[in-house]
Amino acid sequence: MTGAHLTLLALGAIVGIVLRQGLTDHRHRAVRTYAADSRIFRGNWAKVRMAALALLFVSAPVGMSWIGVGGAHVPHTFVPGLPLSNFWLQVLVFAGIYAIGAIGLNLLIGFTGQISLAQAFFIGFGAYAIGYFGMDITPFGDHPLPFPLAALLVVVLGAVLSALVGPFALRLRGQYLAVVSIGLVVAGEWLFADVFTWITKGNTGRPNFPPASITIWPGKTMLFSVLDAPGGDADFFGYTFSKDAAYFWLVWACVAVVTLVSTNLIRSRNGRAMMAVRDRDLSAEIIGVRQAYTKIWAFAICGAFAALAGVLYGSYFSFVQPSNFSNAYSIQFVAMIIVGGVGSIRGSIFGALAIAMLERLIERYVWLVDWLPFLQTNNAASGMTVPRFIKVIFGLLIILFLMFFPLGLNGLWERSKRYFKTWPFSA
């Protein structure tokens, strides 16, 4: 029984109590006013839960150095928390980047009903654009644009670029739009590989990306920066962390912002307009919802989030190839929202976590699956190797979720919550 175990137990107890209180607290359900209905935190326990989540978020990477797993070099007196090794941090960084892209796509597909398979193109745009605007150009003399400014610029450009697709969505519906968006990905691969070669370095791939940092002015002292050194330590107010820990905080802070923006958006006038367009765009237009504006708006938001995901992707991996942004990558994002739950922000995050973990977990813990007789754990040219097995599972997940859990993981979550809430009268 080490200190880490005790912390884990205590944390588990706290999470349990908070969850139980949240589940049995019915008072906040009784809303009488519109203002009460559109609050962010419904009831005090929601605030407590959010605070607990925030504590977990801050302390997760730190805990691992505390129990000596390695990575972050921080003082031992820091906040204790869930111990995470660098592997798990990497998985979570992956999942966070996926989650941002998936939330954007869910706003477009799940809330506005526009089937788009072009997410890979916009993420690719974000990745290459942060390389260009954050590193290649130096508008203020010697220094490139500060990272936050470049990232903001890329996000805005992503929104504009995606809004340009909007007008096509006005003329095309459903499957026609899906085909056009596939065309966008095909065109995107050509643009990345053959046209903008001075930015993308063609098929060989672009190796230089600005590391994430929070700088106020070019060349000035940084508050937070990820150094590009091998092993990549990060600097935060004088403390040093591993690169993965720094990106964990950055990426999941972005996920929090994106989640807040989207949940607020879908409660707003624009959000309700989006859902009206999804349910029946002709009827929506007749009752006064501006269809054109709403669709273009949804595309712009989706493009902005995709560009943000691309910025983080490029900056974290520091190596990007045109073939990374193929049609298969788009399908991966659609799979996330199917597995998580179409039409649910929380579901997008669930789906991103599930898909990111599926891939990396099976890769790393092969013993989970190597008892299967048909599986080959060596890297043979043919045969059911582990990467192929992951893809087959991935395809099956899409089909099975569509067939048996059309509401996705979020639906399962809501159903189990309802079970406990109405117990002992639940079915």
């Binding site: 095909v186 050509w190 659609v334 190797t385 395809g395």
Partner: protein, 318 residues
């Protein structure tokens, strides 16, 4: 000028292949009102089954004995077996998986076809590997000179086979009992069922025919000219066939033929001339532009006619 006609001949044979793929899309769309985004997987099944029956595996793994590597049949026999096996596979896929998606939203069905494509693609990869395959076919690199224009035997065979198959299909579709049932179901499913037509059977047969056409297209794509194919090259072919069906209109067999031929011609002409265009504008950006060109044409057509040239305009009520 001779070069131009050479490109045109290549374009026609390429267009014939796209026509076959596009017809496959249209048949499934007419029956179920859903595009099958997994057509590339059906093409792969056809190509790899034909390859195996043709004796390809026997040469690829001479000392690795597998029961199915013994066989080595001529190209034509292998082609027939491949088409029939793929048709059966398509029928099975419809019965086992897609019959569960009858009254589900379009989005769910589309994504199910994507999921199926992924599963089939990687299962094929696990059996046959990812290396390119080439068939032992009788066509080879032979070509004829007609007034300075070189016409490969491959393009003649491809074009003729496609024409015969398309004519047979249209006869079946317009004249036969089953074809009439298929058209009736496409026109009004409820009324057709009230007349005693089994919609279930129509769906199954549509998938089988579509899969058979896909297999034929894949085998034609991998025969002659020393062509070798991989799963990703088949996928590229379906990506070019998407614009073809959209241009023609997703629910029109005539549209698939016109669209397929147009896209094949446009793609091959762009492929042939892109180096010259590059040189003329002293740039490099037209490299590989032939992959994108079909989509550019599609966009132009869609902006003028949102339902394609021969497509029926959807009547929408509130």
């Amino acid at each position: 000028m001779n070069q131009f006609f050479t490109f045109v001949v290549q374009g026609l044979s390429r267009g014939a292949i796209y026509t076959l793929i596009a017809l496959g899309f249209v048949i499934i769309y007419k029956a179920t009102h859903v595009l099958n985004f997994g057509q590339a997987a059906l093409m792969s099944v056809g190509a790899y089954v034909t390859y195996t029956v043709n004796g390809g595996l026997k040469e690829q793994f001479p000392d690795n004995f597998r029961p199915w590597t013994i066989a080595s049949f001529p190209w034509v026999v292998a082609l027939l077996v491949g088409v029939l096996v793929t048709a059966a596979f398509g029928f099975l896929v419809e019965r086992v998986v897609l019959s569960n998606f009858r009254n589900k939203p379009v989005f769910a069905t589309i994504m199910a076809t994507f999921g199926l494509a992924i599963v089939v693609q990687f299962l094929i990869g696990s059996i046959w590997g990812d290396d390119s395959i080439s068939l032992k076919e009788p066509i080879g690199l032979r070509y004829y000179k007609v007034g300075g224009v070189s016409i490969t035997l491959q393009s003649i065979v491809t074009f003729c086979v496609a024409v015969v198959v398309v004519v047979c299909f249209l006869l079946f579709f317009k004249r036969s009992r089953m074809g009439t049932a298929m058209r009736a179901t496409a026109y009004d499913q409820e009324a057709a069922m009230a007349q005693g037509i089994s919609a279930r059977r129509v769906y199954g047969v549509s998938w089988a025919i579509s899969a058979g056409l896909a297999a034929l297209a894949a085998v034609l794509l991998s025969s002659g000219n020393g062509s070798s194919i991989t799963q990703s090259s088949l996928q590229l072919a379906t990506f070019a066939a998407f614009p073809a069906i959209i241009i023609g209109g997703v629910d029109s067999t005539n549209g698939a033929i016109v669209g397929g031929m147009a896209i094949g011609l446009a793609e091959q002409l762009m492929f042939g001339y892109q180096q010259k265009i590059n040189n003329a504008f002293s740039t490099h950006i037209f490299t590989n532009f032939h992959l994108v060109f079909p989509y550019v044409i599609m966009l132009v057509v869609l902006l003028v006619r949102p339902y394609g040239i021969f497509g029926t305009k959807e009547v929408r009520r509130v």
